[in-house]
């Protein structure tokens, strides 16, 4: 029994699907953000696995890309949680069923 590329890709796909479900189905804004973070992690894991296993002239490029993904994820988390705070301050809730200002 050997650990191959396919094993890591399967874990990545499972993580991404769980994150996608969280982001689409959860009612709390923070729950949606948690789903997005899980999807970032799944994509990073896939990139690192490809970087380790797949033939490439520059194997380290996958790692560099993941460093950028982590940077952008940190920026995204800070701004998104600030937005959640502003929505809570103005509307008194972060339940997305109640945030329906743009509904017809």
């Amino acid at each position: 029994m050997e650990v191959q590329l396919g094993h890591y890709l399967t874990v990545g796909v499972l993580l991404f699907s769980i994150g996608l479900y969280l982001a689409l189905a959860k009612r709390n804004v923070v729950g949606i953000l948690m789903g997005i973070e899980l999807m970032f992690n799944a994509v990073s894991l896939t990139l690192i696995a490809f970087s380790r296993f797949v033939e490439s002239p520059q194997p380290i490029a996958g790692h560099v890309f993941v460093v950028f993904v982590i940077t952008v994820a940190a920026a995204e988390a800070a701004v998104a949680l600030a937005l959640a705070m502003v929505v809570y301050r103005n509307r008194g809730t972060i339940d997305i069923d109640q945030i329906n200002l743009l509904r017809w």
Partner: protein
């Protein structure tokens, strides 16, 4: 990767990562969900180590486990106790179907595709190579990332400022 320790470590970390992610979906209390999310992040960091990605594993622990999870808990504790349940909207059914279809499709494609697998072994150490690549070939994205971080920091401060 024939070494038994790596195989055992992979399976344990994979079960921890996916199981903790499922618990994020399942638990009713959102604070517990964040704690399971942290466990999932730690599992991913462990998987990075089994892939010999030492620098990225440390960055994952520092930034996801250390910073982002604290940020999420902080935001959660600033909202009222009543809105800390982990309930679903009416879109739960369609979301479940979409996530399942996506997972099966991408999973099947990933497993069927004949990847050009290289015979090289694990990386011996990656930090020096990543540093060189960041300051040589990827110096422009590196600078843009610093501007992005500055803009995000200023934006977050301006958004939550009381005025």
């Amino acid at each position: 990767m024939t070494d038994v320790g790596t195989v055992v470590a992979f399976w344990m970390l994979a079960v921890i990562t996916v199981g903790a992610a499922l618990m994020v979906v399942a638990v009713r209390n959102l604070v517990h969900a964040v704690l399971f999310l942290v466990l999932s992040f730690i599992g991913v960091a462990g998987l990075y180590i089994t892939l010999s990605a030492d620098f990225v594993a440390i960055a994952q622990i520092l930034i996801y486990v250390g910073a982002i999870s604290v940020l999420i808990i902080f935001a959660l504790l600033l909202t009222p106790r009543a809105s800390r349940d982990n309930a679903e909207t009416f879109l739960q059914g369609p979301a479940l179907v979409l996530a399942a279809v996506f997972g099966l499709t991408v999973g099947a494609v990933a497993l069927v595709t004949d990847w050009d697998v290289a015979g090289r072994g694990p990386f011996s150490e990656t930090a020096a190579a990543i540093g060189e690549a960041l300051l040589d070939k990827y110096v422009l994205p590196f600078e843009i990332a610093s501007v992005l971080l500055l803009a995000a920091m200023v934006g977050a401060i301006v958004l939550v400022r009381e005025d």
